[in-house]
Each structure stands twice: as C-alpha cells, then as structure tokens.
Subunit: 394 residues, 2 copies
C-alpha cells in the first residue's frame, strides 16, 4: 500500500483546480492510465477503489483500520446522512471528516441512486423528487439545489450532481426524457454549488443507448465539471453490456477529467473498468459480502460457511498478506461465522477490503510497468478452477 | 499497560510449579497484594481482569486488539466450546491458543456455571449432570472426569474444576449437600487431570453460609490445587453480602495460592475485591454492556443512547486514553449506536475493555506504592455525581 502523505488542506482551490486530476502514465495499448486525484484532504493514487461508508462508517471498520488497509478515500451516502443524523447536524460538528474522525478524502453521492433504487419514490417532476424516508415514512422533497445544500453541509472533498436513476431495462423514450432531466439537474447543481474546497462531478446517464450516452457526456462537458462519472450501470445487465457502454462513453471524456464508475463492482469489473480507462470505483460488495461470508480470493470467491472448510486449517488465501490470512485458518473463520460471532464480520471485512485495495494497487503497478495485459491474464488464470490447487465451489 | 514478555512456553512444569504464583508486594493495611501468575504461555501481572471469550473470541475483538489493549489473559467457556465446535475438534487444531490465534495465557471454566445458569439442566446426580444443549436440544452427560477431558482438549493454561452452582437464594440444607458434591467432584477432577502444562484451580462454594464456605475452602486445600477460586457470588445478592463472604473466605486461602473471584463484576466490585485480596477476575460486563451502549467511565456509567448526548461533542471520558476517547465524540458514538452501525459495538467494546484493564493497572500501581486506600477514595470521589463536572444520568 502507498503511504504518500501531502498536506494540501491549506492550499487554495485555485492552486489545485487546474490539477484536481494529474495524469501520471498512459497504459500502452489500452485506455487505462495511472493518475492522482488531488483534494484538500490529500491525494488519491488512481485507479482507486473507494470503500463505502454509508452512514458515517465503513461497516465495522474504524478510521485506523481503513488507514492500515491503505484506503485513501471513502464514500458517504448523502441520502442516508441527510435522514440520520442530518446534514445540518453534521455541519455543526465541523463536517463529515471531523464528525467521523477520517482526515483523508471523502466523496459523497447525491442521494439520487438511493431514492430511486430503495423504492421510496412518490413523485418525480422536473423540479425535483418527493420520497418517503425508509426509516419513518416521513415525506421529503429533494431538488438539485437541495442535494447540493446537503452535500455542502456534509463537506466531502468530491460531491456528485443529483441525477435521475432509471430501473433496468427502460425503453428509449423514457431514457431519453430522463436524460434531459438529469442534464437539466446537472446544470442546476453546478449553478447552486458554492464551496471552493469541493470538487463537483457530473454523472453520465443514458441507459444502454449509445446515442443517449453520447448526448449525456457532451451535455456534462458543456456545463463544466471537475470530474465525470458514469452512472446507471451494474443495475442488472450482463457485464458485456456494461463494458460496451464503457467502451462507448470513456473515449468521449477528455483525458484531463477523472472518470468514476459508480457502484461497480466485482473484482472482474474493476479489472475491466481499469482496462477501459476508469479511475475511480465504489461498491458495497466487499463489505456486504463479508457480512454474508463470501470472501474474495485470488482464486475466486470462497463461501466460508461451506462444510468443506470445517476442518480446513489453511489460510483463506495463501497469496494474501492481510491480517486475517496471516493469522487464522478457514476452520476458525467458518467457526466464527457459523457461531454468529462479531469477529467473523470483522475478519471477513478486513480481508475483503484488503483484497480490493490490493487488487487496485496491483493494477496501478501494472499500468506503470506497461504490463496491464499480462496482469489481466494472470488475474483470470488464477481464477480458473481447472488449474492445480484451485478449489471450485460446489 | 505493561508489555513484559517472557518465554516460558518451553519451561517444564516442574520448573514453574512451585512458583505458579509469585507474591511481589503486600499492601499496607489491607489483604490486597501485587503478584504474578506464571503459565506456559506467559505471565499475568495481578490483580488482573480477564476478558471473556465465550466461543473462541472476545466478542468483536481480534487477538491484536486485545494485545493492544494490554490484555494478558482471556477466558474461554468449556460449555460453549464443547458444544461448538467441540473440544476434540479444537484439540485436532492444536488446542485453543492455536485455533483462535492467541498466544498468551487462557483460562477455561469447567462449564458448570453455564449448565446450571442457562436453565438447561435435566438431572443432577452424584455421578454428574445431564443437560440439554441450548443449540439443538441434544442431551449430554457431563461428569467431573468428562469436564477435565474437555478442558484438556481445549488446552488452556489454567483450568477449573467442575462444580455445582446453586440458584440464589438456596437454603442451608440444600447448600450443604451441594457443597459435599462439589468437594467430591473437585477430588475426582484432581484425580482425572493429567496435563502437565495446565494449572488446575478448585472452586470454593457454600453459598452465603460462613461455615459452609469455610468447609469448602478447607476441603479444596486438603485435596490440593494450583489456585483457589471463589464461586457462587454475584448471583443476585447485594454487594455487601458478597463482600462479607470474601472477608470470610480469603483469609482461609494461604498466601501462596492465586485467588480468583469468578464472574465478578462491576468496577466497584473489582476495587472491593482487590482490597480483599483477590488476584483474578472475569466478567462479561464490559463486553456485554458495550453492545447495549452502557459505557464505563471514571465518573460512572454513560448510557450512550440517552438524548442528552445527541449534540455532545466531548469525548466519552476526557480522562481516558483509549482509541475511542482519543478520536470520537459522544455525538458520533450515539449516532453509530442509534443507527445500529457495527462500528458502535467495536468502539464501545474497545473503550469498556480499556477502562477495565486500565482500572486494574491503576490498582496494581496503587498496591505497589502503598496507596490503595487513597486510590479507592479517589475512585469513589470521581464517581460522586455531586462533584463539579460530573453528569448524573437522568
């Protein structure tokens, strides 16, 4: 893990602005690149994975845990934090960094995805969205301006424009109309945003229609953002379809912009996303799977509750250097999981996040050394259940 | 926290036996003493508190967490480990130390307390106990010999004789008969015990009857054990009654024996137990209370879900040096707890265990410096809700 520290917190945004993203190295023969995203709470070496801290903590992990794992940036959910404990509450505590004790960069989403995906929606108009809280059923009205107010209150380093998220699949006419709305909301977010110490990213929507995605990307570039995200992917489509959209969209985003693929994904998705020029990823998979006993290893996923691991005294992943793999056996991890011991979740989460963050470190090094193609081949070869020593799951 | 390390694992029991407990300093004017309990996995500075690792983990804490907190010894529950994953299973993994990745001393109770207190009892005879598993209702028959077999399989450094535990209150006749049985079982445990690298402690029973307690202590000394525990206390009686029994029992135990007060207790109980010459304590209070949001501080217990802490930006305990108090506010701890975030349990447990272990460190230093009386006074003064800066709970 990298341990580069720079104190950028006192720099002025003007000093950083032209260089929010710095390109360090272009991959030979692929759109992949090594870069660095600079914020007022420090730098993020890219491509990077951002652990998800929904409610002001990455589930079960302390800031110290995350630092020791090498996480450089975490994500917070504006929707959840708006409802509990509230953005004004957090602003009074000096913002999210201060409240949660995390002094490295934070990115907040705008809440759009949660409002649309948690089925809480009561009404969408061009003006904004009315929804009911999943906690107490209370009604809330969120406009693009309100979303920015919330994100400014939270005070993350990178904030996202408010967008409309469609279910999958959605037809062309519906997707086209929704894209217009998302672009209009993006414009209003840009106009509403005031904080000089935050970078605002727009989100390309447009479903699985190439011409709409093109329109979405061009619209955002015209408005002007600090970074460009690709949204509305990993919503139930086959991976091939997601990668096709990336192949279409990424070339439309100029090299100077950091590119963020929202809510993605599996280890395979990260490798393929990086290959296609993505710089930032976030996903609940490593933390959520940890809680259900699905563990990511260099040879594939291990479902630790499987009876085959009952008396398996080997480490989860002999190739892994994490605390869990250095100290405990599969038999112990399975025992903890079956007995519903809290330590199971802790050890599983430490491992899964280490796996994701180490995979990204491997990808960064491979880009630097112009060996991304062979890194990718080795990644898939190891996962091939036919090779010696591999253990296909029953 | 002390960080004294000695490698005793390769010593022979014969070399240690005469000195399983070494007395370092007698308190002036009280029965309290500073000592060291020596085992094949290292030393324990006494008086000491042992965090409870019921099922092969102290709930939510990794071995690294416990080492950083300064824990020198943890407790395992033979009853729980016998049922899941089983003592033979653990023996095949090289014993509990190896299975759970904890290389410092471990003490296992014999399972008696759980069998009697979890209301699983179906039948007690002089031969042994028949009970039903709380997991699947399966029937099991445990004799003193079987209890020793289980504890030898687990392989802890200190193991406990199998005893009968009575409900509170129990009448004289019942208590007297039960004491006879416990003494008979103690004799059989001693006869059955083979492992040279384990120290076997007897348990003084006898309820709240002074003459029976005397008989219990004398009976154990006649049989011969490596240490003497006081059982059957903190079972619902007023603290005064418990302390009275300690006042009666402790003087009956020769100075050369480590004295262990089982399943006790509150911070006040620890201070009073130490004052009366107790060397070892264990209790689920700090870990269990952590999970329900009750936090021990130098000024008393804080119930973190109390609305008064909603916007309280102060640390939980300004006098505390734990990770939680150094990095987070009461407002954040309350938010995590109310949102049922896993990190709440982690931060609360780190704090409560640190509080208990630091209290014991303070008691050890006070004994060494012959200022136990003033330590005790300061302990109670700080907890007085009338003094400046104190915050009585509503």
């Amino acid at each position: 893990m990298e341990r580069i520290e720079i104190d950028t917190a006192t720099e002025k945004k003007e000093g950083l602005a032209g260089e929010h993203f710095r390109l360090l190295h272009r991959s030979e023969g692929t759109p992949a690149r090594r870069g660095v995203v600079r914020t007022f709470h420090g730098e993020i070496q890219t491509p990077a994975f951002m652990p998800v801290g929904t409610l002001g903590s990455v589930k079960g992990m302390s800031p110290e845990d995350l630092e020791r794992l090498g996480a450089r940036i975490i994500l917070g959910n504006a929707y959840h934090l708006y409802l509990r404990p509230g953005h004004e509450f957090i602003a009074r505590r000096g913002g999210l960094h201060s409240f949660i004790g995390w002094n490295r960069p934070i990115l907040t989403d705008s809440g759009g995805y949660q409002i649309f995906s948690l089925n809480l929606l009561t009404k969408v108009t061009d003006e904004g969205v009315t929804f009911q809280s999943h906690l107490d059923g209370s009604r809330h009205f969120i406009t693009p301006e309100k979303a920015i107010e919330i994100e400014e209150g939270l005070g993350a380093d990178i904030i996202m424009a408010f967008d409309e998220c469609l279910p999958y699949p959605s037809d062309y006419a519906k997707t086209a109309a929704s894209l217009e709305r998302t672009l209009d909301w993006a414009r209003r977010c840009k106009a509403a945003h005031r904080r000089e110490d935050q970078f605002l990213y727009g989100i390309v929507q447009g479903g699985f229609y190439e011409d709409l995605r093109k329109k979405g990307a061009e619209g955002l570039l015209e408005i002007g953002f600090d970074g460009i995200a690709v949204g509305g992917l990993s919503v139930g489509e086959p991976q091939e379809q997601m990668l096709h959209i990336l192949d279409e969209v990424v070339p439309l985003i100029p090299e100077a912009f950091p590119r963020y693929l929202m809510g993605v994904g599996t280890p395979e998705d990260l490798v393929e996303g990086v290959m296609r020029g993505i710089d930032l990823f976030d996903c609940v998979l490593p933390t959520r799977h940890a809680r259900t006993g699905s563990l990511f290893t260099s040879r594939g996923e291990v479902h630790i509750k499987n009876a085959r691991y009952t008396e398996d005294d080997r480490p989860l992943d002999a190739d892994c250097g994490c605390y869990t793999c250095r100290n405990f056996s599969r038999a112990y991890l399975r025992h903890l999981f079956m007995a519903k011991e809290l330590l199971a979740i802790r050890l599983n989460t430490l491992h899964n996040l280490y796996y994701y963050l180490t995979l990204m470190e491997g990808l960064r090094q491979a880009i630097e050394k112009d060996r991304l193609g062979s890194f990718r081949n080795e990644f898939y070869q190891k996962r091939n259940p036919e090779i010696e020593g591999a253990e296909p799951e029953a």
